[in-house]
Amino acid sequence: MSRLEAKKPSVCKSEPLTNETVRATLSVLKGVLTSCYGPSGRLKQLHNGLGGYVCTTSQSSALLRNLSVTHPILKILTTSVQNHVSCFSDCGLFTAILCCNLIENVQKIGLTPTTVIKLNKHLLNLCTNYLKSEACGCRIPVDFSSSQILLCLVRSILTSKPACMLTRKEIDHISALILRAFLLTIPENTDDSIILGKSIIVPLKGQRVTDSTVLPGVLIEMSEVQLKRMLPIKKASALKVALFCVSLSGDFADTGEGTVVVSYGMSLENAALDQLLNLGRQLISDHVDLVLCQKVIHPSLKQFLSTHHIIAIDRVGVALMEPLSKVTGTQPIGSIGSVSSSSYGIVKELCSAKFGSKHFFHLIPNEATICSLLLSNRNDTAWDELKLTCQAALHILHLTIKEPWALLGGGCTETHLAAFIRYKARNEPESILTDDGCTQAELQLIAEAFCSALESLAGSLEHDGGEIVTDMKYGHLWSVQGDCPSVVNWPDLLSRCGCGLYSSQEELSWSFLRSTCHPFAPQTCLPHKTVSPTSNLIVDCLTAKLSGLQVAVETANLILDLSYVIEDKN
């Protein structure tokens, strides 16, 4: 007998953003994210309070994955940031903090959401058009014929993740490795479309960071004893490879429901083994040199193959199957019955390698875009952070090859953009407002909210009580000690701007952020001002930042637009 229970009525709350607790939680979340931002950001220890693994991080991807927020507004925010991070791997905190800032600033103004949303969209368009245009003063071209800007790009990502616990030397080492790994994934002979390969990150925990290295091809880890048994590999020429994704362990495929009745004295296991041995004979007659299996190979089959000088490696794991299929140039064999002479692939060389206490089989391909990045760090939590960071950096390089531009980092793009918007809103408001009923006064208000959201985002880079100033020529960010006297000799107090492009000795004038100063048109960097080989720029990926900007504004708009939260209490 089933029992019916009356449904509870849904709960409907209006104007969720006006709720005090919602505002409070939003500001806590903003506080958490802001304190993580940038190279000197503070770390967070994530744990379950029951003695589980402690994750120390300041990365949005790790943070948001573990944060479980309950309020729908916070959920909208975290989900859209996570979406952005999964597509672009970078600028997650940028997006989240900017979104929070926009919501916070706009609420103080008291315009209707419709107007705010409309104007935010205009300003967003203004920004994206500017950042994509030739006239943009805060972006530089990425030159793929030299490693300089690419290294800067990677180094900027590594420095912005303090939980990796890298020293400067180690950052240089890892940046070079990441770049090399990236270059190994670019095919040498290209027709019309380039298909980039893959870098596999191989854990090498407990070693020194400088023991990390990158190798072309695939590494398969195995115990020393296993490896010794297979060595030495006699063949010098290329090896013929059979790659199986089906289990060769000799058990029976799922028989489904019902019972299989076997008469006494019959052994299904032996029958299955006979089949496997037949397969083994076929492999021998086809002159296969190497058998790789995702799952388990029956010990008897292994023994049979090894007596015929075929190397059999099993339990390769699903993660390596795609790279292996690329390296060997063959599709994995999915059924024992369907092996034909066309199902085999080739590897150029097979050798053994030892890194730290780990032993590997190293498959070297003829020309494939697969490489292995052996990554080491001293402790587990720093290793996890480093792994995420390296993945992000490799992804960013892939994005950059599609759109070869970089934005100046270190907060300079944000302050520059704010200066640009202020100037446009003041001097050419009609170019922004396309007659849809918004007044110029409204534009001034929202533009100020937008700009101060950007500027306070740039100010979030500061965690030790410093202040942010901006110059009146390029609109770049400069950091200065907190309690400095108001009348100072700026050029001596400041050294370089946030991204490192300009030095304070260039006859500039400065002003504090949030101070009322006359809007100015920020200048583009001069052509000769392109990067000198010694300079160490901080740059960000254009694609990722552009998307971050869009996601932040659109999410803020969405949240501002919410008028009811309806909750099903059942």
């Binding site: 400067r168 407990g206 006494y264 000690q481 370089r496």
Partner: protein, 710 residues
């Protein structure tokens, strides 16, 4: 609500405080004289005796604190990688976290503290390269029979660092290294413990020994001269880019600027082993014997090996025999394991003949299947005819196994997994010995030496898989070991096997685990020393150098206010980079204080100084001298050589005792420092903890303080 957030870095840094108080528990484990601790559980009457940082943290429940968890993780990672340096890590993590906390209290920004501390420790690591001692060809030249126990050691001269009092080293046992089937053993003679020097001894002691040392010094010189032909320059040493040392045409490394030309190197296994023993000579004796055995085997295998010999720890195993007196500890070539007393007579019968062996990688049971084999549940076996099978399937299987064993004339089965008991019994009846739970390294050693091929199932056995020439003997006469009714040790070996078992015995069962730990610590220290071909001067010398070096650095940056070293701060455009010189002296000073605390803990533990204050004045005295001398490393080397030649041990009236040098392995030590620093910086840079996956109900009301919910 399933997530809470707590700021831990408001005004006082709770994380750093926790770290330093956790680390305080490991203070007594520092140095050669360790005091054990009893860890008792509150509710039941269990207690464990621990004497190392790893074991201590293992037995503490630190699940309530994230910092404790991280500390445990760091010490474990160090232990797993190097088997030594755990206590150093623990202590330094504590000392430096209080240093960092003090810097914060002074108002120095977190990023600056992190940056300067990282710079300071990095600079120390570079600096201690000058105290590296090259190690090479410690096995290379003659006199291989000399061991720590001093069996054939001439009294003075060739072994200048250890004088064995006459009469104490008298227990000898005839060794026959060529006959591998004979168990080799090295007794631990009850000998006066040699007290290792605690960096350098108190000045009073040094003076007392001046006169008596003259004779020794001369003998030391003649000794070094007679052996110079064997010296090979270490490439590591040449890379260590220090200008302090130059290599003379005659092959000696000489200290360039020092007043007394004194050569520093380590070419003698005994000296190296004693130096690395850190006071635990009896354990190091076992390791040294194992190293000699392995070296002999290696030279037999490959003739005169060109690559330097490295102790291969993966081919050393331990067999613990609790309840057997400690003097029975020894190392044997081959595999020692405990088998049931029921096979006693069988072993006696097998003893005088070479037997054939089979190696089974899985379990030896009827139901066993290899890993990854999924047994279908819905298969039913039916009988077609009325003919009933006579035996159960288990018996059928057992008889098949025996059939295979008989067919290939196999008398010994080594099994990696577990073994069916009924089969073991049956095998005993047919004069076959089955040994279960054998490690994979042991299997591999037998595979290599006996020519066997490991298989998973007994049905896979073919003539090519069977190994031969294995001997099985009782390890020592049963009467000697005596009193054990749960099993008896047997030695399984084969000609040329690259496998060594260290049999560790102790009459106190509770000590056996600590003994095993100590064995591995010593073995790994020697392993690293031989692998890296260099060691550090130990006994506090490197720490003292770090202390003096940091003091000098702090003073220099105070005087010059130099802007040069800001390279450690990643973001050079930040104001932090330009304000760094102002804070650097204070941070370096606190960091140096950490080293000073380390040294004084070391001295108090070894009772070199009875009070903290005494240690403090003593250390300060030497730091002043070192700073005054211009080069702390030269000062240390000079003090060290004084110590080596001038110490007079007042405890033995009328007898001169040379104090051996103390050595430390290089990478494990430096990695322990770096790990300790990383841990401190990780905690320092953390401002809050986020607890996930909790409901309101699971958090106690008193813990709720300071929590924010999302």
């Amino acid at each position: 609500v399933v997530m809470a957030y707590r700021a831990i870095n408001k005004r006082r840094h709770i994380g750093l405080q926790q770290l330093s108080s956790f680390a305080e528990t490991g203070r007594t484990f520092l140095g050669p004289v360790k005091s054990s601790k009893f860890v008792t559980s509150g509710d039941c009457l269990e207690s464990v005796s621990v004497s190392s940082a790893v074991r201590l943290l293992e037995s503490l429940d630190l699940s309530s604190s994230t910092v404790g968890q991280l500390l445990k993780e760091a010490v474990h990672a160090q232990h797993n990688a190097y088997k030594t340096g755990g206590s150093t890590l623990l202590f330094l993590a504590g000392a430096w976290s209080s240093a960092a906390e003090e810097c914060l209290r002074l108002g120095i920004p977190v990023s600056t503290v992190a940056s300067v501390m990282s710079e300071g420790v990095g600079s120390c690591i570079e600096e201690v390269a000058s105290l590296q001692v090259p190690v090479h060809s410690v096995f290379g030249h003659g006199d291989n029979t000399k061991t720590i126990s001093g069996l054939e050691t001439p009294r003075v001269g060739s072994c200048p660092f250890l004088q064995v009092p006459a009469g104490a080293g008298g227990i000898k046992e005839e060794h026959d290294f060529r006959d591998a089937s004979q168990p080799l053993s090295t007794h631990s003679p009850s000998r006066r413990p040699v007290k290792p020097p605690e960096f350098f001894s108190l000045p009073a002691k040094v003076k007392a020994g001046t006169e008596a040392s003259q004779a020794l010094r001369s003998s030391l010189h003649t000794d070094t001269c007679s052996r110079k032909s064997a010296l090979i320059l270490s490439r590591h040493f040449n890379q260590a880019d220090d200008s302090l040392w130059i290599s003379k045409p005659d092959g000696f490394l000489e200290q360039h600027s020092a007043a007394t030309p004194e050569t520093y190197r380590c070419r003698d296994l005994v000296e190296l082993a004693v130096g690395l023993s850190h006071g635990d000579l009896s354990t190091m004796e076992l390791v040294e014997a194992a190293a000699r055995l392995q070296y002999q085997k290696a030279s037999v295998r490959q003739g005169h090996c060109t690559v330097p010999f490295v102790l291969d720890v993966s081919r050393i195993f331990t067999c613990c025999l609790p309840g057997v007196p400690g003097t029975f500890s020894c190392v044997c070539s081959g595999y020692v394991t405990v088998v049931s007393t029921a096979s006693m007579t069988l072993i006696k019968e097998l003893e005088n003949q070479p037997v054939q062996v089979v190696l089974i990688e899985g379990d030896l049971t009827e139901s066993y299947h290899h890993l990854g084999f999924n047994k279908s549940a819905n298969i039913k076996t039916v009988l077609d005819s009325a003919e009933l099978p006579g035996d159960s399937s288990e018996e059928l299987w057992a008889s098949r196994v025996l059939q295979v064993l008989t067919q290939f004339n196999v008398n010994l089965i080594l099994v990696q997994g577990s073994v069916s008991e009924s089969l073991t019994e049956k095998c005993v009846h047919s004069k076959r010995l089955v040994v279960g739970s054998v490690g994979s390294g042991v299997m591999q050693a037998f595979a290599e030496a006996a020519g066997a091929v490991p298989v998973t199932y007994i049905t896979q056995v073919s003539a090519a898989c069977v190994g031969s020439g294995v001997s099985v003997t009782v390890w020592r006469a049963p009467l000697e070991v005596g009193g054990r009714n749960d099993g008896m040790p047997v030695l399984v070996t084969v000609e040329g096997i690259n496998l060594i078992t260290a049999v560790l015995t102790s009459s106190v069962t509770a000590q056996i685990r600590a003994k095993e730990d100590r064995f591995w610590t010593c073995a790994y220290r020697l392993h690293h020393a031989l692998k890296e071909e260099k060691v550090l001067l130990g006994g506090g010398a490197v720490e003292f150098l770090c202390l003096s070096h940091l003091r000098i650095l702090a003073e220099q940056s105070l005087r010059r206010g130099d802007h040069t070293c800001s390279g450690w701060l990643h973001n050079t455009s930040s104001w932090l980079a330009s304000s760094l010189p102002a804070y650097r002296p204070a941070v370096l000073e606190r960091l140096a204080e950490g080293w000073r605390r380390y040294l004084s803990a070391l001295m108090c533990n070894t009772a070199t100084c009875s009070t903290e204050l005494g240690a403090y004045t003593f250390i300060e005295h030497h730091v002043q001298n070192a700073a005054g001398s211009g080069s702390p490393s030269v000062y240390i080397l000079n003090e060290y050589s004084k110590l080596n030649s001038e110490i007079f041990n007042a405890d033995i009236p009328g007898k001169l005792e040379q104090v051996p040098r103390v050595y430390d392995s290089v990478t494990p030590k430096i990695e322990a420092w770096r790990r300790a620093l990383d841990l401190v910086l990780l905690v320092l840079k953390t401002d809050s903890e986020i607890i996930t996956g909790l409901g309101h109900s699971q958090i106690n009301s008193q813990e709720l303080e300071g929590l924010l919910f999302l």
